[in-house]
């Protein structure tokens, strides 16, 4: 299979789903990202990203958990798939490799 690339926002969403574990669905993901990163994200953006990640095979979903406050509508819960975990760890690995290969003086200049 060709390598599926992970965009920056996709990475954030994928990580958030992983953090939320069993309780990741549209609302919680939106709120979590807002609280953790302090950036105001639109629900539609989160929604389409979740879908895209599912299409890429990084997420899987199931329906469930209808509540009254939702007007009896079910939620779509997302879970990170094996491919998603692999993609995340690959991204992390690449980041670490890049940081490691940074020369020390540059690191100092950057205030690190």
């Amino acid at each position: 299979m060709k390598r599926a690339f992970l965009g920056e926002f996709e990475e954030v969403v994928l990580l958030t789903v992983a953090i939320l574990d069993e309780s990741a669905y549209g609302v919680t993901v939106t709120q979590e990202i807002e609280q953790k990163t302090g950036r105001a994200v639109g629900f539609s953006t989160v929604h389409t990203t979740l879908q895209r990640l599912e299409e890429k095979g990084f997420l899987s979903s199931r329906m469930g958990g209808a509540t009254a406050e939702r007007g009896g509508r079910r939620k779509r819960f997302f879970m990170v798939t094996a491919a998603g975990r692999k993609a995340l760890s690959e991204v992390k690995q690449i980041r670490e490799q890049l940081w490691d290969s940074l020369p020390p003086q540059t690191l100092q200049l950057m205030g690190g």
Partner: protein, 872 residues
């Protein structure tokens, strides 16, 4: 409590993606609560609406997974699949595929051949690099109300243009006419056609020199040979510098060899070029004309290349009064000198009587239109058959959809099928064209090849194929693919009552074209036959002519005649100024008692010898033939009947006629002898006795002997008297047949196209009939069970087609009448358009239709109804 905007909900309900609508609405409601708490209701409503807008399709669609089709011709594996299925379909329906591919290929072949023919016609003379600047010097005038054009020029014309109008011309070339000449080198002698041209002609014509230089012609005793002539005379040895002879009298040195002119140029017959100066110095009459500045002797051709900054119109305007200036007495014909650009030489070589340009261009148009129509016929078949069959395939569409085909896949499927058929047809048509080209070239008198390296050819071919494929495939692809699977499979699906109307219209178009072509062909051939069977007023059989082109023949004429008669192979022999098939000398300046002084006379003038009449067998209406018994016949004159009518005199025999103040006495009147075009009236012609004005020897063969033996004997005599020349003779009947060559060529091509057109049309009918029969198999079965006879079924199925053909015939008749009527007007001597021609064409088309349709309908009628009704 919570009341997010209603309209936003409605929007989401309507335009949101159905797969995710539920969870999205839930999520949004939950978030609305959260937003009302955190940022207030007003902002929450705002955010809610914004999110809804962003979540509508197509802004937020759920993309289809990569596992399934990319929308159109995407993945190679799918294309392979489409092609495989298309191929299987073709193989499964062999007759249908054959009709489709064969018919289309045939149409494409015809179009391709016609296209190549037109391309060849349009690219005539483009070989010359100065194509855009070369012109012929011509003149026109009005004589007896008719506009005439001439390319004959007087000898001083070249000098005048070269000196007085030096700024307007880059080159001015004097030219003799392309005629037969004898070229000899040692023992080798050949008759070759060539010209005498001014020394800068090779530059103007941009000769491609293989050896020697273009400047070679500047030496007045030189000759430039074409490659083919050089090969014939000198073989492999280098010809440059060799000494040879023209017409056994002029010694010249070969100073160059040029590449033969291509076939589609005006100069293709010019196999050698000798210097104009040599011509002038060797022919006393030319020298006289040039030295004495004779503006009245129009015997040569003048070619010119205009200066780089000049235009043909401007230069024509400057030179228009040259003739008037030098021959002021010709003012009554309003002579005008002008330039005719090279681009018009070939296609616009003629003029009608009111002086409008005319010529081969009308054949280019005619064939272009025929080509388009034949191609159209083939395309109509293709479209008709694919739409007819597509109804049958409605079920297939239903099943494909039921098992999960997406519409775009069906579209691709149908398009790839039609494109495959077209691709096969295109390849087949190239093969066919290659096979037919040799025959086609012979009929059309051309040397055309497939333009393998011409991008326009491929662009047209492939572009046309794509277009046909897309148009023909569009009906099944776009219409059928829209069917709903449920309806089609349930059997409630009906193709509309009017679905077959476009098809019927197309069949009518096909037959209109076919019948028009048939009528046209018959009339063209009738016209040729009509002219061929026209009485010519002399006896062509066993009549040959030999050119009298050497001084030896002139000097020993009487001895030659005696020897020839003694061989027993010759009945009679004479000389004349032109062969019996030519009338190329006209004169005015005649006067007779009773002539209106304002009458501008013009007569064809032929010089003959005493035995001419017996040789050609002309017939006298009044008076007698020239006779040696009457020495006064040396100033005798024989008239043809037209001349007598033209002069308006009664009982002309014995009357005096003056020609340029020389008196002649009429000795006889002959029946009109057809010397000019067989499509024109016979020209008023006078025949006078003159032994010095002979150009050809006429020989009447003894028809009791075999022609080859006679010719051998005659040749032996000629060898004795004329040792330097090859013995070349022409049969008058063959020469006469050549007069029909252009018409016959057109007729042959048109008949081939007409046959193809009717064939392609009936091929289409055959396919349609088989389709209809198949579609109505059940109905036929039921009818038979209920007692219908084979004849009933046959007439039921054939009726519709016959009706269509009759409509086609009805439309074709006035169209054909209109075009052929105007075509026939071109000819003075023309055939009638009898009603039976139209009737025969209509009946012919009808017969072909019935034949085609009957096969299928009888087949359908003979099927045992048990078989057709048993299934399902």
């Amino acid at each position: 409590m919570k009341n997010p905007p209603r309209w936003a909900d409605w929007l989401l309900e309507t335009f949101g993606h159905p797969d995710t609508r539920e969870e999205v609405q839930g999520d949004l409601l939950e978030l609305y609560d959260y937003w009302t708490e955190t940022i207030g209701e007003r902002k929450a409503r705002w955010r809610y609406s914004l999110s809804v807008l962003k979540l509508m399709r197509p802004l937020a669609t759920r993309k289809q997974s990569d596992d399934y089709s990319p929308p159109f011709f995407g993945s190679p594996s799918m294309i392979r699949n489409y092609l495989k299925i298309a191929l299987r379909n073709l193989v499964k329906n062999k007759i249908y595929s054959f009709i489709n591919i064969g018919g289309l290929a045939m149409g494409m072949t015809v179009a391709m051949l016609i296209g190549l023919w037109i391309y060849d016609e349009l690219s005539f003379d483009k070989y010359f690099q100065n194509y855009d600047r070369i012109a012929k010097v011509m003149q026109n005038g009005t004589f007896n109300g008719e506009v005439f054009h001439g390319e004959y020029n007087p000898a001083p014309m070249g000098q005048e243009l070269r000196t007085v109008y030096a700024d307007d011309f880059s080159h001015v070339i004097m030219s003799s006419w392309t005629r037969d000449h004898i070229l000899s080198y040692g023992d080798k002698k050949f008759t070759k056609t060539g010209n005498y041209l001014s020394a800068d002609a090779p530059d103007m014509l941009t000769l491609k020199m293989l050896s020697g230089t273009r400047a070679g012609l500047k030496d007045p005793s030189s000759i430039l040979l074409s490659e083919s002539v050089a090969q014939a005379l000198f073989g492999t040895s280098d010809p440059v510098g060799k000494l040879m002879k023209i017409d056994n009298k002029l010694d010249v040195k070969v100073t160059g060899v040029y590449e033969d002119f291509p076939y589609n140029t005006e100069f293709r017959e010019m196999k050698f070029i000798a210097p104009w100066d040599l011509y002038v110095s060797s022919e006393s009459w030319v020298k006289r004309a040039q030295d004495n500045v004779e503006w009245g002797n129009f015997s040569w051709q003048v070619l010119a290349q205009i200066a780089p900054n000049a235009s043909f119109e401007a230069v024509s305007d400057k030179i228009k009064n040259i003739r008037l200036k030098h021959n002021p007495e010709t003012a009554f014909i309003k002579p005008k000198v002008y330039l005719q650009p090279m681009s018009k030489w070939h296609l616009y070589s003629g003029w009608d009587k009111s002086g409008n340009l005319d010529g081969r261009i009308q054949y280019v148009w005619l064939f272009g239109i025929i080509g388009v129509f034949v191609l159209l016929l083939a395309c109509i078949n293709f479209m008709n058959l694919s739409t007819a069959r597509s109804e049958k395939r409605a079920k297939e569409v239903g099943i494909r959809k039921a098992v999960g085909s997406v519409r775009s896949q069906l579209i691709s499927q149908f398009f790839s099928e039609s494109l495959l058929v077209v691709a096969f047809a295109f390849v087949l048509s190239i093969v066919l064209a290659l096979l037919i080209l040799p025959v086609f070239n012979e009929v059309a008198d051309k040397q055309i090849g497939i333009l393998w390296t011409n991008p326009i050819f491929w662009l047209c071919g492939i572009g046309f194929s794509l277009l046909t494929g897309l148009i023909a495939g569009s009906y099944p692809a776009l219409y059928l693919s829209s069917f709903q699977a449920v309806k089609v499979l349930k059997g409630t699906f009906r193709v509309g009552r009017f679905a077959s109307i476009p098809r019927q219209v197309l069949v009518v178009v096909q037959f209109t074209v076919s019948v028009t072509l048939i009528i046209g062909t018959i009339i063209v051939f009738r016209q040729i036959e009509h002219a061929k069977s026209r009485p010519v007023g002399y006896d062509r059989s066993g009549l040959i002519t030999v050119a009298m082109n050497t001084p030896e023949l002139h000097d020993h004429y009487n001895a030659l005649r005696d020897d020839l008669l003694r061989t027993g192979a010759v009945v009679d022999m004479s000389t004349s100024s032109t062969p019996a098939t030519d009338l190329n000398s006209q004169n005015s300046g005649f006067d007779w008692v009773g002539k209106d002084p304002n009458f501008k006379d013009n007569f064809g003038t032929i010089a003959v010898t005493h035995d001419f009449g017996k040789t050609v067998g002309w017939q006298f209406v009044q008076g007698r033939d020239f006779s040696r018994q009457f020495p006064s016949d040396s100033s005798g004159m024989v008239l043809n009947e037209t001349a007598v009518r033209y002069m308006g005199i009664k009982d002309p025999v014995g009357k005096q006629i003056k020609w340029n103040d020389t008196p002649y006495r009429v000795v006889g009147v002959i029946k009109d002898m057809l010397m000019g075009s067989p499509f024109e009236p016979v020209y008023q012609t006078v025949y006078v006795l003159n032994y010095g004005w002979a150009n050809v020897i006429n020989i009447k063969l003894n028809t009791n002997r075999s022609t080859s033996e006679s010719l051998a004997r005659i040749e032996a005599v000629f060898r004795k008297f004329n040792p330097g020349s090859p013995f070349d003779y022409r049969f008058i009947d063959q020469q006469y047949a050549l007069k029909f060559a252009a018409e016959e060529r057109i007729g042959k091509l048109a008949s081939v196209f007409a046959i193809l057109a009717i064939f392609i049309s009936s091929l289409g009918l055959f396919g349609l009939a088989s389709f209809v029969a198949e579609q109505r198999t059940k109905e036929i079965g039921v009818r038979k069970v209920l007692g219908a006879s084979v004849l009933n079924v046959w007439s039921m199925l054939s009726k519709d087609f016959v009706f269509l053909v009759l409509i086609g015939f009805g439309i074709a008749t006035p169209i054909a009448y209109y075009f052929l009527h105007s075509w026939l007007q071109k000819y003075e001597y023309r055939t009638e358009m009898s009603w039976w021609i139209f009737a025969v064409s209509g009946l012919g088309a009808l017969a072909v239709t019935l034949l085609t349709v009957s096969y299928q309908s009888i087949k359908a009628a003979l099927i045992n109804p048990v078989k057709s009704l048993r299934s399902e």
